[in-house]
Symmetry: C2
Subunit: 619 residues, 2 copies
């Protein structure tokens, strides 16, 4: 019985048939691995997700975290899940071996992340933040800092956090006020307040290492004067744990991810709180930026994971739930009842969910794969190419996947009818949990500005040009396949519109009209996402079509009837037929909106900024 | 200080300037009323909503309802709110005076419903269900039944419910199993189980009158054999309250509307439960159908109300919350911080919310206005015309408003950033509360089937033809105004595409391809909704343009600068300028998608139904 969290057949399709990650083993970096080893990892991840993490998900939601006497406690069931997670060494899966990790490809890590987050998004925050923090120390820490902190974090003996946000400094991180004062011994005194700190306090590990953005006295204002510090919850002095005056003053009551503690932390308000500089003074933002791609990919992964789990649940519910007769016998009160899966509107919703979820999966794993290709690229040119794909796709991975992942969970609720609105069924939680993904790690509005303001203009638009080229190659090869000719056109048209809008933005920038791209950054990201996801599905369709054809040939299925029969009886044929349907459905129902979206962006409509404040409402 | 629930200026604009409900007073039916009286009602409703209902909203969410010893208790604060509500006679506002009501127009009632639901959607369920149930008795009950039940329900001394759903009978109401057996005295013994009964039990009133669908023994299967019964929680025998074995066995734990009790009720499981037939045997569905429009309009109103409250909150937050410098000074770390309202992406979100919310408000009040016009129509023809508008628009009022109302609340959360995800701010609750509106009172999928399967085909498509004609007249008049010429085209184009798709559905039906309209019913409803809402905004733009022009003329504002100055200083000018922007924004950013939506519907894409079950996922 396959798990009900992630379609494992599709995971393998992306990893082995689309990205061919087994071919990464040709490179020295991954030379010791093999497909068999990847399969073992996947299987173990599935088991952990299904048997240990998923059963704690509702518990986390219902019980949530509590703050008692300055200490946050997570639900009891999280502790055992955490032990299993640590024992498996899951956190360090993609970490280089010389740093104490296992050195697996990131693409594979993505597949495990999807499984874990699908099982329990709130739980997955604790290792997620820890790895993010540890990576900073890996890249910028001294050997001593690595030995003291990073090693214990990669084993998850200690956890970690990222402390950026302050009450007055959210999206505008440069406005932060936490102060760092150098002490005679080279360490710093840290004083300030942080909010919305995920995994900010909890009782899963004996120590928590906070990566704290703060301003050294006399540093320049804004982002240029920010430094980053390692601030442990407990300092180790002569082998003893000494409290470091990091106080958790509140935990937020949230719409979802109740099992994840979202803390207000106060540093050095009472006694002295000591931090250790990471890298150089005023390098804080540069250091943080280096880890941004990874963190944003992880949040996109949350969007995918909840979509994935919600789709599987909705599909199962639709197959189980009997309601009403088939549409053709609707007027016969004695007609047998059928599962709601047989109702066209339900099937339409399910195929939408399937298509979008599979597209996101492909895009996100592809982003992980780009990281891998950067790491083992034989030339700087090739490394730059894959880094470029990664850089331009990251805001789409984060924003499109979180927004559309939410839509998938919303439809899963709808498929469940009244039951979908009740806590009894897991989709209700999926929907609440995933909403945060559109907000944190840079709101989706910030992602859109990053795409339009930074990524499009990087080196005269080289990143976008490379996307245009790559999709062009794919399109050309798809067009050669006469069996795909019916579905290729919408991809072609949507891509042309994306190119047209991008050129239009370029022209606007030349004429110094920066406002238009900024005003339409979010709709632009949406359009870009439609095209990017679309091309992932087209890529998959090319492969699936070939495989399906081979199966037809092998079985000598040369009539429509024989082909249909094979699809019904052969699991692989059924799967490839489903892949083709995902691409076709996306092409015919989502991509036709691309011209209208482009027209809307280029409409010149500026009411939103031209309208006086008073006209929004009178108060 | 205006309330922060509903833009009262816009309410008055719809009622008096667009629908001109004061002109209804020309008819005998509303002859005793005047605009002054309507204003008094509005003012009192605002006060009740703001001062008494809104303060209990979070309480209802946090405390919710509890089931103790078979009795449901609502949060304590609801009791006082309920008293104020009853004292004001709000429930019976639109009920005919000869039935004990106040006889006000439904359009005005809509405005009060919006206010009350915006203040506390969960609370508004109790009177909502009561009035729905009482109306059935008004229309189909004997004089004795009216005296015994209806009178007490219109004063809210007793409450009411609608008991349709059973575990196996949700959307397929014909599958219900609750049995009714005639007793010698003409009453019936009722035995069965109902679920998802809103306001099914509570302690706000001393008695609850359930309207229960059940099957009399020997009745035909399916919907044709359903009867409807009045089943009081307590029977009155010789002036005494006698328990009638209606047991609340569970209350659902839900995503939202925690203050509204959603009950599992068991009838006659232990002792005898007696019900009284309403109308004739087997007339149950016919009777229910008569009240459908009203109930669905009320649910659409919930979509509007949460959108309205969420927009007002988001706007206020955006004006209050300082974050980041203005976009043009972004690189200057010393630049002053501005409210996020000054960031283009936030303004884009807010204007989207404003435009959609105002469009829904206009459409829903218009539906109420159609009811009024039916009631006082001098000819049968005119009555039929307005009834037709109402009938075809109802599924759109319900489904479009609930789906898009949810989108508005989602954007309100996004505008709030991390705070939007926290319970501390009311938008988090708005989003959870409103989600149910897409599901109950006929899921939005059912609404779409009603539109496509029933309303489009009624009398050779007369209902749609009337819509085409009415929008055509409006378009013609808008086109004559040279100041509106820039915004008229998208309305024209979108309308043409709706007509084209409708014709296409008609052709499909002629060729007996019923599957295509059924498969695309939901996307069709969405497109129809876009056009319907669009034309409401165009209608408003025509009026607002004229009024604004008058203000310009009066103030001798004859240059762009003077006009802009007037808009900034004159509240009416600011408002009308905002109305024009709502229409223009909708025209340029939402309606351009109409051609793509139409293309998608007519694409012939049938994967969803053609795909074998096995291809959706392998389990």
């Amino acid at each position: 019985m396959p798990n009900l969290l992630v379609d494992e057949r599709d995971q393998k399709f992306v990893l082995y048939e689309q990205l061919k990650i087994d071919e990464l083993c040709q490179y020295a970096k991954y030379g010791e691995f093999s497909r068999e080893m990847f399969d073992m990892v996947l299987e173990a991840a599935q088991k952990l997700a299904e048997k240990e993490l998923a059963p704690t998900n509702q518990d986390g939601d219902v019980k949530g975290v509590s703050l008692e006497g300055g200490q946050v406690r997570v639900p009891e069931s999280f502790h055992q899940a955490y032990r299993y997670y640590c024992e498996g060494g899951w956190a360090s899966l993609p970490i280089d071996q010389e740093m104490g990790g296992q050195g697996f490809p990131s693409a594979l890590y993505c597949a495990t992340m999807e499984l874990f987050a699908a099982a329990n998004q709130a739980f997955s925050m604790y290792p997620g933040l820890t790895i993010g923090a540890a990576r900073l120390i890996e890249h910028y820490g001294t050997e001593e800092q690595q030995r003291e902190y990073m090693d214990k974090m990669y084993t998850m003996e200690w956890c970690g956090t990222m402390c950026l946000t302050e009450p007055q400094a959210g999206s505008d991180v440069g406005a932060l006020r936490t102060r760092a004062t150098k002490r005679p011994d080279g360490s710093y005194s840290i004083v300030g307040n942080k909010i919305f700190i995920s995994a900010g306090d909890h009782d899963l590990s004996e120590n928590i290492i906070h990566m704290v953005l703060a301003r050294v006295e006399g540093a320049p204002p804004g982002t240029k004067g920010i430094s980053i510090f390692i601030v442990p919850k407990y300092r180790i002095e002569n082998g003893e744990f000494v409290p470091n005056d990091v106080a958790c003053t509140a935990v937020e009551k949230k719409m979802g991810i109740h099992g994840s503690s979202t803390c207000a932390l106060s540093f050095g308000e009472k006694e002295s709180c000591i931090g250790y500089l990471l890298g150089q003074e005023n390098e804080g933002m540069k250091i943080m930026f280096n880890m941004m791609n990874e963190a944003r990919l992880a949040v996109g992964m949350q969007g995918l994971s909840q979509a994935s789990a919600a789709y599987m649940q909705a599909l199962r519910y639709a197959k189980d739930r009997q309601q009403g007769p088939e549409i053709s016998t609707m007027k016969d009160p004695n007609a047998p009842k059928v599962p709601i899966f047989d109702h066209p509107d339900v099937r339409r919703m399910l195929l939408w969910m399937k298509s979008v979820t599979e597209g996101m999966r492909a895009l996100l794993y592809y982003a992980g794969y780009c990281e891998d290709r950067v790491k083992c690229a034989p030339t700087l040119e090739e490394a730059a190419k894959y880094q470029g794909f990664l850089d331009i796709l990251i805001p789409i991975c984060k924003a499109w996947s979180s927004d559309m992942g939410f839509r998938v969970t919303e439809l899963a609720v709808q498929v469940h009818g009244g039951y979908g609105y009740c806590r009894e069924y897991p989709v209700e939680q999926n929907m609440r949990d995933v909403k945060i993904a559109s907000i944190y790690e840079g709101t989706n509005g910030i992602q859109a500005l990053d795409l339009v303001g930074r990524k499009l203009s990087y080196k005269q638009g080289i990143l976008f040009k490379n996307i245009v080229q790559e999709t062009g190659i794919l399109l050309k090869s798809a067009k050669k396949n006469y069996r795909l000719k019916d579905i290729v056109e919408p991809f072609d048209v949507a891509r042309k519109h994306l190119i047209e809008v991008t050129r239009y933005f370029g022209l606007k920038s030349i004429t110094e009209d920066f406002m238009t791209p900024i005003l339409y950054a979010t709709p632009y990201l949406e359009l870009f996402g439609d095209v990017a996801i679309g091309f992932m599905l087209l890529w998959q369709a090319v492969i699936a079509d070939r495989r399906l054809q081979e199966l037809y040939d092998d079985a000598k299925a040369d009539t429509p009837e024989k082909k249909a029969e094979l699809v019904k009886t052969n699991r692989s044929a059924a799967f490839y037929r489903g892949k083709l349907a995902s691409a076709q459905f996306f092409a015919n129902t989502i991509l036709p909106l691309a011209p209208g979206k482009a027209r809307s962006i280029m409409s010149g409509e500026r009411s939103a900024i031209d309208l006086p404040e008073e006209s929004f409402a009178l108060f």
